[in-house]
Point group: C2
DNA sequence: CTTGGAGGCTCACGTCGCGTGAGGGTCAAG
DNA sequence: CTTGACCCTCACGCGACGTGAGCCTCCAAG
């Protein structure tokens, strides 16, 4: 019962080189050598090889197999559970990649062979998104899902904005305000009402000229829309404030309104983590929130009260703010606790 | 618009080393160097890098990406289709492995931490099967599916056979014959009635002492059962043949009956490939078939006729032969064409 | 006795996409 | 002038072998 490499290889379906390799790394050393130096495998060696093959078929690395066989400390059950988890992860990753490829493929399959450039642009957008969002976020982000209707909708909105800018219509005009409101409604829908997603999306647009170019949302366009959106809110507050209060607010509000999404995103994350409103982190957010408010509303409590009343009585002020009832309540508690202490 | 490696790395989320690597292999060479030898990337380089990242996110190799970008000969559609296929294969493989691991895990989870040896033995059996069967075959092989009832059934059968042998009961006795018939019925069920699977299973048992030891089916046992099975068939033929014919057959039949499965497997493969019965390959099989028949039935056409009649009239002879109606018909045509020419 | 072919041996480089130092230069700020 | 951040090249390492090159050993046939 002495086998030479070739015979053992044939019997096990491995190659001679593989057996040499196992010998080199000390995983399976033949327990004998002939006078000429030939490897001679005994029954026990063959048995060990069978163990090795069995464990290999589980996808284990040679190092791990060696460790397991030489000192069978850890249980095989644990090993197998690890392997299963690893496989699950790999499978999920690859399935996701495949789905993306299939989607990409479908997108271009009607119509003739598309230009290389179109492919690459679409692909680059996708990888951009990958860099700014995690996989779960992408799953939750409606904007990410390729959808012709949605795309057409945005093209229209952007086109309208560009037209208004070209015609020199100021952001304070009703046409601009109306567009800005539709814009935000669509955006709120396409970010699933999640300020975290909105915030990351803003970051992406701010940092990546490529994305701006691709979608046609230049800095100019987004600033115009932001401004017009601010005007639409201000127009409502106007009815609740004195002329003096209003002009103060009108000067300051647009300058810092872009800070809202980041703040809301942080707040929402705390809420979802189940942090109590009294926790230091949340209290800090509440402080920043009030600071932001004061930065455009001034320090007069009377003014704050007017704003609160406006927010309560005007449903239009409650729209497009990426706020849920739960978040309002949470924020309310945090601020109450802050001012009480 | 000149970027140094570090800045470009930060912007793209890659590492400096990665960019060095791309430079080394010629995938992305910065179009400028500073006097001190610093890599300086221009807008066009950045654009190329974006293309690279996009294609990488499809899972393409760097070599392929380089080829595609430098001479955009082949269409991206084709590339993507290839990638999708590759992924599908990988996913299927890994899913199968995972399923096996899960099955293995379940098998041992009731009961306490099993012995390492039990694990390994089960595993080794699995890898054995892997070596002798393709994946699709394993899917079709009921024997491969771990099933306690089935396993108990085989344990019983094997135990009975061992008892009979121990007690010295000859294979010609009714008890042995009856056991052999149950054995074959079970075997036919557990090979899904497919002679190809039966044949490979036989090969595995013959070549792998490990498997024999594990299941308890020693050469002695399987030969005993085969013999008894032969006797059970012969007992029926006895009623149709002269004493002389019968004793001739009884001497020869057991010696070559093990050739049936291989022959049937080949025949079935031809049938499934849609080869016409007149094709040379099938004719050759028909010749071998007749030769095998003659080897134990002799050359007298009258004897052959008796055997044919027995086969027709005795349903018991039709059982446990891994033959479907379609195969009988196919073989009939092949033999008819052979004898006619 | 030789010869040829099958099989064995060791040594060593290649794969793929970088990570991770080592050892040393460059540049702007303090 | 120093400091620290950034840059350079060179080179090994990973994992599981594939693929030679150059040489040795064994057995059967001429």
């Amino acid at each position: 019962m002495l086998l030479r490499v070739g015979e053992l290889a044939k019997r096990t379906g491995l190659t001679v080189r593989t057996l040499h390799h196992y010998d080199e790394i000390g995983l399976l050393k033949p327990s004998m050598r002939s006078d000429a130096g030939y490897r001679l495998y005994r029954r026990q060696d063959v048995a060990r090889l069978h163990h090795i093959q069995a464990l290999r078929s589980l996808g284990m690395s040679l190092t791990d197999i060696g460790a397991l066989l030489d000192r069978p400390s850890s249980s095989l059950t644990a090993v197998i559970e690890r392997q299963i988890q690893m496989l699950e992860r790999k499978i999920a990753d690859q399935a996701q990649l495949r789905d993306r490829l299939v989607a990409l493929h479908r997108q271009f399959e009607n119509g003739d062979e598309p230009e290389m450039d179109d492919w690459l642009k679409t692909l680059e957008m996708m990888t951009m998104y990958d860099r700014y969002f995690t996989r779960e976020e992408l799953d939750r982000l409606p904007l990410y899902r390729v959808d012709d209707d949605r795309q057409a909708e945005w093209k229209t909105l952007i086109g309208e904005a560009q037209d208004l800018i070209r015609q020199g219509v100021p952001p304070s005009y009703r046409a601009a305000q109306e567009l800005a409101q539709r814009w935000m409604t669509t955006l709120e829908r396409d970010t699933a009402g999640d300020p975290t997603l909105l915030d990351k999306l803003n970051a992406m647009h701010a940092n990546e000229p490529e994305v701006q170019a691709q979608m046609g949302i230049s800095t100019q366009v987004s600033e115009y829309v932001m401004r017009a959106f601010a005007e639409s809110k201000l127009a409502i507050y106007h009815r609740y404030l004195s002329e003096e209060e209003f002009s103060f607010m009108r000067q300051r509000y647009p300058q810092r309104m872009h800070e809202w999404p980041t703040l809301m995103a942080k707040l929402r994350q705390q809420l979802e983590q189940g942090t109590p409103p009294q926790a230091p982190a949340v209290q800090q957010l509440a402080r920043e929130w009030l600071e932001l408010l004061r930065s455009f509303a001034g320090d007069d409590p009377a003014t704050h009260e007017k704003i609160r009343r406006a927010n309560e009585q005007e449903p239009a002020l409650q729209a497009n703010v990426w706020m849920t009832e739960r978040m309002k309540e949470y924020l309310g508690k945090a601020i109450a606790h802050l001012t009480a202490s």
